[in-house]
C-alpha cells in the first residue's frame, strides 16, 4: 500500500492545526470506513491525523436541555447511553442496526456522518464514478441500481448515504458542530449534506479543514422523541446496509397526531427528512389509512430507476408499520 504520514492529535485546536487544511490529509476516527477505502485505493491520503484521543468522547446534557454527543463517542457507547435510550430510542435502535459489534466498538459519531456511499461502482477504482472521479460517468443509472436512490438523485449520481445513525439524528433535528482554524461553527444536519445535482463529489457543507466536534440534539418535542423507533430492512438479518429504513417519532393525543417526525434511509444521497409526510399527518387521525397517505405524499417525489421501484412500496409499508407500532405504544 501507499505510504502515508500519521500524527496523533491531543486537543481539538491541535487536530485542526495538524490537518492544516490539506485536502490530501484526513482525520482518522475509528477507521472503519476510511481504512477500507485506503486498502481499495478509493482514498489515498498522504497524511492521517488521528483524533481518537481527543476529549470528545462524552454524551452530556446540553445547556438548553438537549443532548450533546461528542464526535469520538463510539457507536457502541452511544447506543448504550441511558439518556439516549430513554429520550431518543430510535437513535439507539438505529446505531444498533448498523454494522457489527466489533465495528460499532470502533466507529465514531463524527466518522459515521462522514462515511462514504457503499455504491459498488464508487468502491471499485476500475469503474467510472462521478463521485470518486468527477466527470467519468455513473454506471449505476444504466447498470446495477437495485439499492440506489429514489429521492433527490440526479443523472450524475444515484448513490445512497449508508448511515443508520444519521437517519435517526435527522428525524430529531440534530445539529453538527465543528471547529476550524478560525473558530467553531454549527450546521443543522438537514443542511449538512449537499444536494447531488451535478457535483456528487461535493458531499457536505463542512468547511475545508474543519473537524466535526459533535452532534447536538435539541430538547424540543421530547415527548415525541421518546416515542420513537427505527426499522431497517436489509438483504440478510444482520451485517448489511439498509435497502430501506425509517426513523419515526410520534406524539398522539386522543387519536390525533400532534407531532410526528419521519426520516428515511437508503433512499437518497443523504438521510431523507420526510417533511411532506409530516405536514400531511400533523393534526390527522392516527390510523393506518392516514399513515399510508402521508407516506404517499412524501413518495410522490420518488423517481425510481427500472430496478429499484420496490423501494417506494417498501418505504410506504415501513412508514405504516412504524407509525402503527408507535400509535399502539402511545395508546397503551
Amino acid at each position: 500500500m501507499r505510504e502515508f504520514g500519521y500524527r496523533r492529535a491531543l486537543d481539538v485546536p491541535g487536530a485542526v492545526a495538524l490537518l492544516d487544511g490539506d485536502p490530501d490529509a484526513r482525520f482518522l476516527g475509528g477507521g472503519t470506513n476510511l481504512v477500507d477505502l485506503m486498502k481499495t485505493g478509493v482514498e489515498r491520503p498522504t497524511r492521517l491525523v488521528d483524533i481518537r484521543e481527543l476529549p470528545l468522547d462524552r454524551v452530556e446534557p446540553a445547556e438548553d436541555g438537549g443532548l450533546r454527543i461528542g464526535a469520538t463517542v463510539t457507536n457502541s457507547d452511544l447506543a448504550a447511553h441511558p439518556e439516549v435510550r430513554r429520550r431518543y430510542p430510535a437513535l439507539a435502535q438505529a446505531v444498533l442496526a448498523g454494522a457489527s459489534g466489533q465495528l460499532r466498538n470502533m466507529a465514531t459519531v463524527g466518522g459515521n456522518l462522514l462515511q462514504r456511499t457503499r455504491c459498488g461502482y464508487f468502491g471499485d477504482v476500475s469503474s467510472p464514478c462521478n463521485k470518486r472521479d468527477p466527470g467519468s460517468g455513473c454506471p449505476a443509472v444504466e447498470g446495477e441500481h437495485r439499492n440506489h436512490a429514489i429521492l433527490g438523485a440526479s443523472a450524475h449520481c444515484v448513490a445512497t448515504h449508508p448511515s443508520d445513525m444519521g437517519v435517526a439524528l435527522t428525524a430529531f433535528d440534530a445539529r453538527v458542530t465543528y471547529e476550524t482554524a478560525t473558530g467553531p461553527g454549527e450546521i443543522p444536519l438537514a443542511d449538512f449534506y449537499l444536494p447531488v445535482e451535478e457535483t456528487p463529489h461535493r458531499e457536505t457543507a463542512l468547511p475545508p479543514g474543519a473537524l466535526i466536534t459533535g452532534v447536538t440534539l435539541p430538547p424540543g418535542a421530547t415527548a415525541t422523541a421518546a416515542n420513537s423507533c427505527y426499522r431497517k430492512v436489509r438483504e440478510r438479518a444482520s451485517y448489511a446496509f439498509a435497502i430501506g429504513s425509517v426513523a419515526a417519532a410520534l406524539d398522539v393525543r386522543d387519536g390525533t397526531v400532534r407531532d410526528v417526525r419521519l426520516a428515511f434511509g437508503a433512499v437518497a444521497s443523504r438521510p431523507w427528512r420526510a417533511h411532506a409526510a409530516e405536514r400531511a399527518l400533523t393534526g390527522a387521525p392516527a390510523d393506518a389509512e392516514h399513515f399510508a397517505a402521508a407516506a404517499d405524499a412524501e413518495l410522490a417525489a420518488a423517481r425510481p430507476l427500472p430496478h429499484n421501484g420496490y423501494k417506494v412500496t417498501l418505504m410506504r409499508n415501513l412508514v405504516v408499520a412504524c407509525l402503527s407500532e408507535l400509535a399502539e405504544e402511545a395508546a397503551r
Partner: protein, 705 residues
C-alpha cells in the same frame, strides 16, 4: 495390538489438530516464512475483452523494492497440451502471461514482484496497462438457449433420454411446466488462495493451499514440462476449498517468478481477486416439465439446464443431471447445455449440478404436490424408483424414504396444514417446506503407507487433504479401528505430494477413498506382523493401493440421499424472509465422526439457506465485471440468519465399501434452497422460481414470481 472395546468409528472425536488451529499454532500456506522470500502481486485486466497494447513496466520497476514485472512479453512459456489429473486439458486461464488476449475482466495481465507484499501491491496497483478494447458479451439468460449446445465435458453425459417424453406428457393428467433460474455464485473459503514456490536442489517446492497436492503437482509439472517427481507440493492445513482450490493463476505466476528470480516467491489472492481468479458457479436457466397421474405418480420428467462458461474453457454446470437418480418415470429427458461468454471460467462449486439442479427439480415436485393435492413427502415416496430411473441399474443402497420418514417425524410434518398463506404471527407469515437431496457416492484410487513403530505407535502416511472437513481426524479413527488400537497410538501424516498418489478432497469422495486405502494397509500390516514379534527400530512399513479394488466395484446407482425440511417466516410488508428452523436427515453411508459430520451437513444446509435467500454475484453488463465483488457486496447468511439448523442421519452403510462410507461433503447443500423456497410458497402462496428470494422479489411478486 490390543482389542478395542467397541468401534471408534461413529463416536464423536474433536479434530486432532483442533488445538493447533484455535491457538494459531497451525500455519497456513500464506504465513510460513522462508529466507529470501519475495512477494508477488497480480495485476488484473480492467476491460472485459480485448488485447493488451502496452504495459508501462518502467515506472514501477523504479518503485521501492520492486524486483520484476512478469507479463506476456517476458514470462516463461508454459505447455497446455497435457491432460490433467481430472482427465481433461487444463483451463487455459491458468496459463498466465502467454499472449496479449484478454478474455474477461479480472484476467491476470502481470505479476509484480517486490521485497515486501506492500511494495508489490502498491506497484501492481500503480502499473499502467493500456488495452485495445473490444465489445464484450456477458449477458446470460434463458433466451439464449438457441445459441447453446449440449456439452458433456468431464461431467456425466449432457443428454440422457428414456421413453417418449411428449407422448407421456400428453397422456398425463397433470403437467407442470416451469422455468427456474439461479444466479452466478462464488465460493469464498475463509482462507484465500495462497502459495509459495521455490527451487531447492533442482526440485520445485511449493507450499500451497489446495484440495489435493497431486492435483497441483500434475498441473505444474504439465505446465512447466517437469518430471512430476521433481515437483513437491505441501498443504498441511487448508482453510476451505469448496472446489475452488485446484491449480489457479497465482500458483503458476509464483513458479514463473521463483524461476526467473531464483528465490522463493509468494503470491496470495485478495478477496476481490478471488472473484475473478478462483472460479465460481455459473448462473443457470432451467426448465422442468413434469407429467403425472392425478395421484402424483410421474409419467414424464424433463429437466433442461443452460449454463455458461468463458470463451477459453468449456466447463458446464450439469444441473439436469441432478434429476437422473431421483424419481421413477416412464419418460426421462435430461439435458445440459452451454454457451460461451466473456466471463471468467466457472469451476466446481460445492455440489456442482446438484445444488442448482435440485432447486429446480424439487421446487417443481412441490408444485406438482400442490396441483395434485398430495402431501410433498408422500409424493416423493410414491415416486420412489426400484432401480436407477434412467440407467435401470440396481442401487448400491438407497434410503431416501427413511430420510423423509425420520425427518417428517422429527420436524413435526404430520401436523402441517397444506394450505398456503394462512398462518400469521404478528407481522410474519409462516410456512414449512421440504425437498429431497442426493449426491453421487464415489471412490477413487488411493495409496497409503502404514508403519508399525518400535514404540508401539502407528504412523499413517496418505496424501489426503484436510480442507477443514476433519479428514485427518476421520482417518485417525479409521486407522485406529482397523488396527484395533486407541487413537492416541495413531499418527496421520497428510498433505504432501511425496506421500504418493491419492484422491484429492473433492466429489465428496476424499474420506471414503483414503479410508479404503488406510483400511487396506492396516489389513496388510496385521497380516505381516506376527503376534509378539519385536518391531525393528525403523518400524515395519506396508503400503496399499486401491486401484484394483476400486476398479472392481460393480456398476450400481451409488448416491447419498437426504430430506430437507425448513420453516420460514416472511414479512409481506418488507419482503424479509427468515429461516426459523431447518432439519436435514441424510442417508449418506456410515458416519465416521459425528462431530465433524454434523459440521459438514449443517455447513451445507447453511450454504443452501444462503443460496435460497442471499447469494448472488451481479455482473454489470456494460463494464463486464462484477458489481461489489467482495464480502460486503456478495451476501451470504450472517450468524443472525442461521437460527436453528439441525442435521441427523439414518442407517445407510454402503455394503460395497470396506468401511461403509459414502461421502458427506456436498449432499447437505442439495435440496436445501428448494426446501426454503417451498416453505416461502407455503407461507405466502407465492412461488419463487428465481434465486435468491430477495426482499424486493417478495415485495414485487404480485402473483407467482
Amino acid at each position: 495390538m490390543t482389542t478395542a472395546a467397541k468401534p471408534l468409528i461413529g463416536t464423536a472425536h474433536p479434530r486432532v489438530e483442533g488445538r493447533d488451529k484455535v491457538t494459531g499454532a497451525a500455519r497456513y500456506a500464506g504465513e510460513i516464512s522462508f529466507a529470501g522470500l519475495a512477494h508477488g502481486w497480480l495485476a488484473l485486466s480492467t476491460v472485459a475483452r480485448g488485447r493488451v497494447r502496452e504495459i508501462d513496466t518502467e515506472s514501477v520497476l523504479s518503485m521501492p523494492g520492486v524486483l520484476t514485472v512478469l507479463h506476456h512479453g517476458n514470462a516463461p512459456r508454459v505447455e497446455t497440451g497435457y491432460t490433467s489429473v481430472l482427465g481433461v486439458p487444463p483451463d487455459p486461464t491458468v496459463a498466465v502471461f502467454q499472449h496479449d488476449r484478454v478474455p474477461h475482466k479480472g484476467w491476470p495481465v502481470a505479476l509484480v514482484v517486490a521485497e515486501t507484499s506492500e511494495q508489490a501491491r502498491e506497484a501492481a496497483e500503480s502499473l499502467v496497462v493500456r488495452y485495445d478494447q473490444e465489445p464484450h458479451d456477458v449477458a446470460f439468460s434463458a433466451r439464449r438457449d438457441a445459441e447453446a449446445a449440449p456439452f458433456d465435458g468431464h461431467m456425466p453425459p449432457a443428454l440422457v433420454e428414456k421413453g417418449d417424453l411428449e407422448a407421456e406428457l400428453a397422456a398425463s393428467a397433470v403437467v407442470i411446466d416451469a422455468e427456474y433460474t439461479t444466479p452466478e455464485e462464488y465460493h469464498n473459503p475463509m482462507e484465500p488462495h495462497a502459495t509459495t514456490a521455490r527451487w531447492e536442489d533442482g526440485r520445485l517446492e511449493v507450499v500451497d493451499s489446495n484440495q489435493g497436492t497431486n492435483w497441483v503437482v500434475g498441473e505444474l509439472a504439465g505446465l512447466f514440462s517437469l518430471d512430476p517427481g521433481s515437483v513437491r507440493v505441501r498443504s498441511e492445513h487448508v482453510g476451505g476449498g469448496f472446489g475452488s482450490k485446484g491449480v489457479r493463476a497465482h500458483q503458476v505466476a509464483a513458479v514463473m517468478a521463483a524461476t526467473v528470480l531464483r528465490r522463493p516467491v509468494r503470491v496470495v489472492l485478495t478477496r476481490r481477486q478471488m472473484f475473478s481468479l478462483a472460479g465460481h458457479r455459473s448462473p443457470t436457466a432451467q426448465r422442468i416439465r413434469l407429467g403425472a397421474e392425478a395421484d402424483g405418480r410421474l409419467r414424464a420428467l424433463e429437466h433442461r439446464s443452460l449454463s455458461r462458461t468463458s470463451t477459453v474453457y468449456d466447463f458446464i454446470e450439469p444441473s439436469a443431471g441432478a434429476s437422473r437418480p431421483m424419481y421413477a418415470a416412464d419418460a426421462h429427458h435430461t439435458e445440459n447445455r452451454l454457451i460461451r461468454l466473456d466471463v471468467p471460467s466457472p469451476t466446481w462449486m460445492r455440489a456442482p449440478g446438484e445444488a442448482p439442479g435440485s432447486f429446480a427439480l424439487e421446487s417443481a415436485l412441490d408444485e406438482l404436490a400442490e396441483r395434485c393435492g398430495v402431501d410433498p413427502v408422500e409424493l416423493r415416496i410414491r415416486n420412489e424408483p426400484a432401480v436407477g430411473p434412467v440407467s435401470g441399474l440396481p442401487f448400491g443402497s438407497r434410503n431416501l424414504v427413511g430420510c423423509f420418514r425420520e425427518g417428517a417425524r422429527r420436524f413435526g410434518w404430520a401436523e402441517r396444514d397444506p394450505r398456503p398463506g394462512i398462518r400469521r404471527e404478528g407481522r410474519w407469515l409462516l410456512g414449512t417446506g421440504t425437498a429431497a437431496s442426493s449426491f453421487p457416492a464415489m471412490a477413487m484410487p488411493s495409496t497409503a503407507a502404514l508403519t508399525a513403530e518400535a514404540d508401539g505407535t502407528f504412523t499413517v502416511r496418505i496424501n489426503a487433504a484436510d480442507i477443514g472437513t476433519g479428514a485427518r481426524t476421520a482417518l485417525t479413527l479409521v486407522a485406529a479401528d482397523a488396527l484395533e488400537v486407541p487413537t492416541e497410538r495413531v499418527r496421520v501424516r497428510i498433505g504432501d505430494s511425496d506421500l504418493g498418489p491419492a484422491m484429492f478432497a473433492g466429489g465428496s469422495a476424499g474420506t471414503r477413498s483414503w479410508s479404503w486405502a488406510v483400511t487396506a494397509a492396516a489389513e496388510e500390516l496385521r497380516g505381516s506382523l506376527l503376534p509378539g514379534a519385536t518391531i525393528p527400530p525403523e518400524g515395519v512399513t506396508v503400503t496399499s493401493d486401491t486401484t484394483e479394488a476400486v476398479g472392481a466395484l460393480a456398476r450400481r446407482e451409488r448416491h447419498s440421499y437426504g430430506a430437507q425440511f425448513a420453516e420460514v417466516a416472511v414479512d409481506p410488508a418488507t419482503g424479509e424472509v427468515r429461516v426459523r428452523r431447518m432439519l436435514g436427515i441424510f442417508a449418506a453411508g456410515r458416519i465416521v465422526n459425528p462431530l465433524t459430520a454434523r459440521n459438514q451437513f449443517v455447513g451445507g444446509m447453511t450454504w443452501g439457506i444462503s443460496m435460497a435467500l442471499h447469494e448472488e454475484a451481479v455482473r454489470d453488463q456494460a463494464l463486464g465485471g462484477l458489481y461489489g465483488p467482495d464480502l460486503a457486496g456478495y451476501h451470504f447468511a450472517a450468524h443472525a440468519d442461521i437460527r436453528n439448523v439441525e442435521a441427523g442421519w439414518v442407517e445407510d452403510t454402503d455394503p460395497d465399501d470396506p468401511v461403509g462410507i459414502k461421502g458427506i461433503g456436498e449432499v447437505g447443500i442439495v435440496g436445501a434452497a428448494a426446501a426454503v423456497a417451498n416453505a416461502v410458497w407455503h407461507a405466502t402462496g407465492v412461488r419463487h422460481r428465481h434465486l435468491p428470494i430477495r426482499p424486493d422479489r417478495v415485495l414485487t411478486a404480485g402473483g407467482d414470481a
